[in-house]
């Protein structure tokens, strides 16, 4: 037995001094260069709560885009929030037509594996008609080339028919 007793052992190796230029008189850590590496797996599942903006996601399932309007100052937040961040008044739900204008975008040719999206992947910021601040979501159905995407182009909310892992993915943007 010995090291093989350790179920999670990956390797034992001798590390080099990463800063030899700091140690002209020899490595002060020479007795500490043997290193062990283990595999450590963690797996969690959360029961995630969407809180007071849950209605937004419920309405998406009904193919409606709702957000919040402040009865105090009149501001309509593109992304709903239960308390107006400008005047701290409790807001009211308001349905928007779902049309708007593209104000910014990026085109990713590479995405981390945790993102279940097709490449190229377009993240966009859209100023929705009837809202004072924009909304962030994916832009799809832009045609055969990302060159078709222009700041200022009209876009609209579209709704997904497939099953999704998160209710925000019940919608996306596409050219109007």
């Amino acid at each position: 037995m010995g090291l093989e007793q350790i179920n999670t052992l990956m390797e034992v190796f001798t590390a080099e001094d990463p800063m030899p230029f700091m140690h002209p008189e020899g490595d002060p850590w020479k007795d500490f260069r043997e290193v062990m590496r283990l595999e450590w797996k963690m797996d969690f599942t959360y029961k995630h709560v969407l809180g007071k903006y849950s209605k937004f996601f419920i309405e998406l399932a009904n193919k409606k885009f709702v957000t919040t309007e402040c009865p105090g100052c009149g501001k309509v937040w593109g992304i709903p929030r239960p308390v107006c961040a400008d005047c701290l008044t409790i807001t009211k739900w308001k349905e928007l037509p779902g049309t708007g204008t593209l104000v910014g975008y990026s085109v990713s040719q590479f995405v981390p594996a945790f993102m279940k999206v097709e490449i190229p992947y377009v993240l966009s910021v859209v100023k929705l008609d009837g809202a004072d601040t924009p909304f962030t979501h994916q832009l799809r159905n832009y045609g055969d080339s990302t060159d078709n995407i222009k700041v200022g182009m009209p876009v609209k909310v579209a709704y997904t028919e497939e099953k999704v892992d998160h209710p925000l993915l019940l919608m996306y943007f596409e050219p109007a």
């Binding site: 450590w40 963690m42 903006y53 990026s106 990713s108 995405v111 981390p112 993240l123 924009p134 925000l168």
Partner: protein, 407 residues
């Protein structure tokens, strides 16, 4: 805001850095913290038993899977039972930790403080998982779920800047060239490289308009700074009088909405760092700086992506909005230029172990003002002032600090 006690001043006594690298398999975050602390104590000529307080600077509880890690870093260096506090603000963590040291000492809560910071970002988890951990620093209900991740957010900011001002990809590529080049004269840098604008332009497209070489990398590493009052230093620091005296003369902090979409539209909209405009004005006012480009000798600027450095120049008041690209092309911010920026190599060249980054900026400005930097990256001292800017998220937390040499 007004500083009432003008007699009580805060000084930077010394700094240390444990090498920034892609993967420090020779140790873990605890080991790097110890190394940075030992170097900072030597540099400042102080003993840990005399230091009254510490601040911990790290960003992510995911990367090291050790919660309240500050307790470990603090006890490893024999600081118990003295007080410790953790500061956290994403990429701005280190800058906020320096500000914290200033506030604690200025208020009289302590006369001395050691600030240590680091991040374990290397290859303990695959790069994909690391990207996911970092994405969790954007809104997990509204941004991460539409497959938002940081380069995509910053790319949106940059396309907005390009659309508004005509900024060109070649212009922000010059930032990558400069920062990788400056890192060649910093032996503790992660990514020193002699490259050209063409190399950046031809590197793999990740998210338009950012190519592979426009981005900073994930780094392992740690950094440490020691601060105190004059009275404490005279009594406890061998460096006092033996090395140039460096004072913290300005600190500023600004914030903006977590989600870029919520920011007042169209200005700053998704184009500018409003928190950086706000925080830098505070810091300049405090330090008596009217024209930052002329009144500073060096500036460490938060260059998570090359274009971020350009936009930061504008929001830090180093030039007018829309002007940064042209000035960068002219070499205004190169070594030997009007105001050399990221002489350490910045996040792109030096590295970005998040909790260490802002402190590493502080160590660089300290070295520059003491004229201890490698001669190839040493700036000329005129105003004897240097500044640092670090931010978290897409400019969500911004911290700007100013050091000044007093001879």
């Amino acid at each position: 805001m007004e500083i009432l006690d003008k007699e009580r001043r805060v000084y930077v006594l010394g700094g240390g850095i444990s090498k920034f690298a892609a993967e420090r398999t020779d140790g873990n975050m605890r080991d790097w913290m110890n190394e940075a602390v030992i170097e900072a104590l030597e540099d400042s000529g102080t003993k840990i038993e005399d230091i009254e307080h510490s601040t911990t600077s790290y960003f992510s509880d995911h990367f090291d899977k050790q919660l309240k890690a500050g307790a470990i870093f603090h006890d490893n260096i024999g600081m118990c039972p003295k007080p410790n506090v953790r500061v956290e603000g994403g990429g701005g963590t280190g800058g906020l930790a320096i500000r914290n040291a200033y506030a604690y000492i200025k208020s009289g809560l302590c006369d001395s403080m050691i600030v240590f910071g680091g991040e374990n970002m290397g290859r303990q988890v695959p790069s994909d998982v690391a990207q996911q951990f970092i994405a969790l620093a954007s809104d997990t209900d509204w941004e991460v779920q539409v497959a938002g991740f940081y380069i995509a957010y910053y790319a949106m900011m940059m396309t907005a800047h390009m659309d508004r001002y005509g900024t060109k990809e070649e212009q922000f590529a010059t930032i990558s060239v400069k920062n990788h080049r400056n890192a060649m004269y910093n032996p503790k840098a992660h990514y020193p490289m002699d490259i050209t604008v063409e190399d950046v332009m031809n590197s793999k497209m990740i998210t338009y308009p950012y190519k592979l070489l426009d981005n900073c990398l994930l780094s392992d590493g740690a950094a440490c700074l020691v601060f105190s009052t004059e009275e404490w230093a005279k009594k406890n620091a061998r460096s006092w009088g033996a090395k140039p005296t460096i004072e913290v003369t300005g600190t500023g902090c600004g914030t903006d909405f977590m989600r870029m979409a919520d920011r007042p539209f169209p200005d700053p909209g998704i184009t500018h760092f409003r928190g950086k405009q706000f925080g830098s004005q505070q810091a300049y006012k405090m330090a008596g700086i009217k024209h930052p480009r002329e009144d500073l000798d060096c500036f460490e600027v938060h260059d998570a992506y090359s274009g971020v450095e350009l936009v930061s120049y504008e929001d830090l008041g180093l030039c007018k909005p829309g002007e940064s690209g042209k000035l960068a092309e002219k070499g205004v911010f190169d070594l030997g230029g009007d105001l050399p920026t990221n002489t350490s190599g910045g996040l792109i060249g030096f590295g970005h172990p998040v909790g260490a980054t802002g402190l590493g900026q502080g160590v660089e400005v300290l070295r520059q003002l003491r004229q201890e930097a490698d001669p190839k990256r040493q700036v000329e001292l005129n105003s004897k002032r240097g500044a640092m800017d670090s931010h978290g998220g897409t400019g969500t937390f911004c911290a700007i600090n100013i050091f000044e040499r007093r001879d």
